[in-house]
């Protein structure tokens, strides 16, 4: 199992066991809360999806209307699951690649608690109608402060861990993670300060900032972290180095240079140079998608999942494919001629779902199934569950993305067809949406499996490691009490 790290033969080397042990507390805090938020996200996502079957479903209650349930689902997925799982997995990769113990694991766990506290306030805020109205930034000001402080704590000690590395030269995964750790606080602070402070920017500048933030979060942050995980795990699973560091470098540069300018739709009511620049940059991210595709293909050769436990490999392979497709869809949708049809339709939703869930979340699932047994030294309670989760999640996300993408294009053409009334167009699009509800159900089931597994594993870990200690500690007391 730990074959990959036995090569470090130096006598003063820290054993992988020690490194993994130092990860345990923050990793478990992050991953278990991520899994909880994942279930929250899919429950709210399912409620939102059911609204399209019957518009009056749960409409009596203000806090369960689509306009509140939907942002809760996105925020729980983005900040609750994706970012926490990403930070946890990133921490483990940093510690392993740096061959250093995690610096201040307890403070990282405290950071995660702050993050979760902020997120809880934020979600409640959205539910009671305190949403900010900016997409992907709905959480109110009070919540944002906790999220920001929590992130700073987690990121700072991840960077300290990276700084303590034994090998000064950095590998590809480390470039990606270093850039990502630094990226988020800048964009998050900028967006929230400019939008939610007492003197926010005015007019349409607000929308530009929100679009800029969303592009940077969805493409740059998730791209950097997700690809770091893909690159690292592919090497571990295949037990061979990455095909080309230079291609990885190309991927890195194209993400930070081009993807950071994407996100502003070509229809935006802003001075024309802004969407024009954004379109050019977004089309150039094609290079990112292609470089990743070539690099991973060449690294894998033919068998991508030839390991003793193929589930992580499957997740990673799916994640990589989803990445390529999602970024191609994104670049395609930025071309003005295409955007004239796809903009404002379910196509854009399909694209972002494929990026966030199909690519990022699937990659994280793979990483979780790979890492957790190593960190705890225990197998999953249900050995088959990773594979079942894989099939549920894979079919689920395909059932969401495919109908929405096709439905989106159809919807786009329908909006251009003046013979169809507004209601006709909307109702026609609903047929595709209703198929996607099935995908939501499958994803929810898979997510419940992940949460159940993580909790069962934690309980077992607790029983093995803490119960005997506690029993011993209490057992010595009893005879002592009995004697005098």
């Amino acid at each position: 199992m730990n074959a990959t790290c036995t090569t470090s033969s130096a006598s003063d080397a820290i054993s992988t066991g020690e490194i993994d042990a130092s990860c345990r507390v923050p990793l478990f805090t992050l991953l278990v809360s991520a899994a909880v938020w994942l279930v929250v996200a899919s429950v709210f996502g399912l409620i939102a999806s059911l609204k399209f079957h019957s518009p009056n479903f749960l409409s009596e209650c203000a806090c369960l209307t689509y306009g509140r349930v939907h942002p809760v689902a996105t925020n729980a997925l983005l900040y609750g699951f994706a970012m926490q799982a990403g930070l946890g997995v990133a921490l483990w990769i940093i510690a392993r690649t740096s061959q250093a113990r995690v610096a201040q694991p307890w403070l990282i766990a405290v950071g995660s608690k702050l993050w979760n506290f902020g997120l809880t306030i934020g979600v409640i805020g959205i539910l009671i109608g305190d949403s900010t109205g900016y997409e992907n930034l709905e959480m109110p000001r009070g919540a944002v402060i906790f999220l920001f402080l929590g992130y700073l704590l987690m990121a700072f000690f991840s960077l300290v861990t990276l700084h303590n590395r034994r090998e000064r030269a950095l590998g590809p995964s480390q470039w990606f993670l270093l850039a990502a750790l630094f990226w988020f606080p800048w964009i998050y602070f900028t967006a929230n300060y400019l939008l939610l402070s007492h003197t926010p920017v005015r007019g349409v500048t607000q929308a530009i900032v929100a679009w800029w933030y969303s592009g940077n979060l969805n493409l740059v942050w998730f791209g950097l972290v997700g690809l770091a995980v893909v690159f690292h795990l592919i090497q571990q699973l295949m037990d061979r180095p990455l095909f080309s560091r230079y291609l990885a470098l190309l991927t890195f540069w194209t993400i930070i240079l081009f993807a950071s300018w994407s996100g502003i739709p070509s229809s935006a009511p802003v001075p024309a140079w802004i969407p024009a620049m954004s379109t050019v940059a977004t089309v150039l991210t094609l290079v990112t998608a292609l470089s990743v595709m070539v690099n991973i293909r060449q690294t894998c050769g033919r068998g991508c999942a030839q390991t003793e436990n193929p589930a992580p490999g499957k997740f990673i392979a799916f994640g990589t494919m989803a990445f390529v497709v999602a970024w191609l869809m994104n670049a395609l949708g930025a071309i003005p001629e295409v955007s004239a049809v796809t903009n404002f339709t379910w196509y854009t939703v399909a694209q972002s779902q494929l990026n966030v869930f199909g690519f990022f979340a699937m990659t994280m699932f793979g990483a979780i199934y790979y890492i957790v047994p190593r960190v705890t030294g225990m197998e999953w309670p249900c050995a088959k569950s990773p594979r079942r989760h894989y099939w549920l999640a894979a079919i689920g996300i395909i059932l969401i993305v495919l109908p929405l993408a096709i439905g989106g294009v159809v919807e786009g053409f329908n909006w251009h067809n003046l013979k169809m009334t507004n209601v006709d167009v909307a109702k026609n699009a609903l047929n595709f949406l209703r198929v996607s509800t099935l995908g939501e159900v499958l994803i929810l089931l898979g997510n419940l499996m992940l949460l159940g597994n993580l909790i069962a594993l934690s309980v077992r870990y607790y029983k093995i490691h803490f119960v005997p200690v506690y029993r011993d500690a209490t057992a010595t007391l009893k005879p002592a009490e009995a004697k005098p």
Binding site: F57, Y66, A169, I187, R202, I256, S267, V349, A426
Partner: protein, 295 residues
């Protein structure tokens, strides 16, 4: 890219570039924009501040997440030009001959002067329209060019011109929306200016739009027993299947009234220099006064 500081520097420079491009520059270009007399037809300031209730309505719009299903951005593909004859001049025969020569249909001299202004050329390019205007001028007639933006959104009646940055100056938070589960709302106040209609639509969308997939918002309304006198605010003309039981009435809460006020205030139809559009003739020529019934 072996060393930490180098990676950090790369990320720092890349993010600074993007930040300067899409955060700083738009702020410099647009951040201090104020209401201006940038309007083509009037000298009024644009955009006008929304009335107080409509500003509160924007808060409800935000809280209820209306923007997840409704955009507020009208797009246009381009602008075409109509030529309207405003004055046939003294020699209407010559004008009619000139028009006929241009293959614009058959015109007769005496009929030309009736019902002015009337369109003689529609959906032409600016050059063609200008050429015709010159020709008419030579024949002694006066004409007017009207700019008509076109595109699927405009043909759907969602607006008369594209939405531009200026339309949002008076609002905060700005929610241009990213999806159209329902129609665009940039000009819903122009399209559906009736407050009672808006309220009925919020209370029970299917009471006014058959098969509408929009959820109803019953919690913005109150079902009240009719007292000595029915409430003046109560919803009028609710169809039977949506109406409350006998002796009860549906009264909008302040939130519903504010939201309806906001929706009715949504109209971005003033022609601007960066988005010109000539209002249709019916709008410019106030209803003929002569036919008004005597009171």
């Amino acid at each position: 890219m072996k060393y930490g500081p180098l990676v950090f520097l790369a990320a720092f420079l890349a993010l600074s570039a993007s930040w300067c491009g899409f955060v700083l520059t738009p702020q410099i270009q647009l951040g201090r924009a104020v209401q201006e007399t940038n309007s083509v037809v009037t000298s009024e300031m644009y955009p006008q501040d929304r009335p107080g209730s409509a500003r509160q309505g924007l808060e409800i719009y935000r809280a209820e997440g209306c923007a997840y299903c409704h955009s507020q951005q009208v797009e246009q593909k381009g602008t075409l030009v109509d030529v309207f004859l405003t004055d046939a001049g003294k020699n209407s025969m010559a004008v009619a001959a000139a028009l006929t020569e241009q293959h614009l249909g058959t015109f007769s001299g005496p009929g030309l002067a009736a019902g002015l202004p009337k369109p003689v050329l529609r959906n032409a390019s600016l050059d063609t329209a200008k050429a015709l205007a010159n020709l008419l001028k030579k024949a002694g007639a006066n004409s007017q060019l009207r700019l008509v933006p076109f595109g699927p959104d405009i043909e759907r009646g969602w607006g008369v011109r594209r939405t531009v940055a200026e339309d949002f100056i008076a609002d905060s938070h700005v929610m241009p929306g990213s999806q159209r589960v329902g129609p665009d709302l940039a000009n819903v106040g122009m399209r559906l200016p009736d407050v009672n209609w808006q309220l009925m639509h919020l209370f029970a969308p299917r009471s006014v739009t058959k098969d509408s997939p929009m959820p109803s918002y019953p919690f913005l309304f109150e079902r009240k027993k009719i007292g000595k006198q029915p409430s003046p605010d109560a919803l009028q003309q609710l169809p039977k299947e949506f109406a409350p039981a006998e002796g009860y009435e549906i009264v909008p809460r302040p939130e519903a009234k504010a939201l309806a006020a906001y929706l009715v205030s949504l109209r971005a139809d003033v022609p601007l220099y960066e988005a010109p559009a000539t209002p249709p003739p019916a709008a410019t020529n106030a209803p003929a006064v002569t036919n008004a019934p005597a009171k």
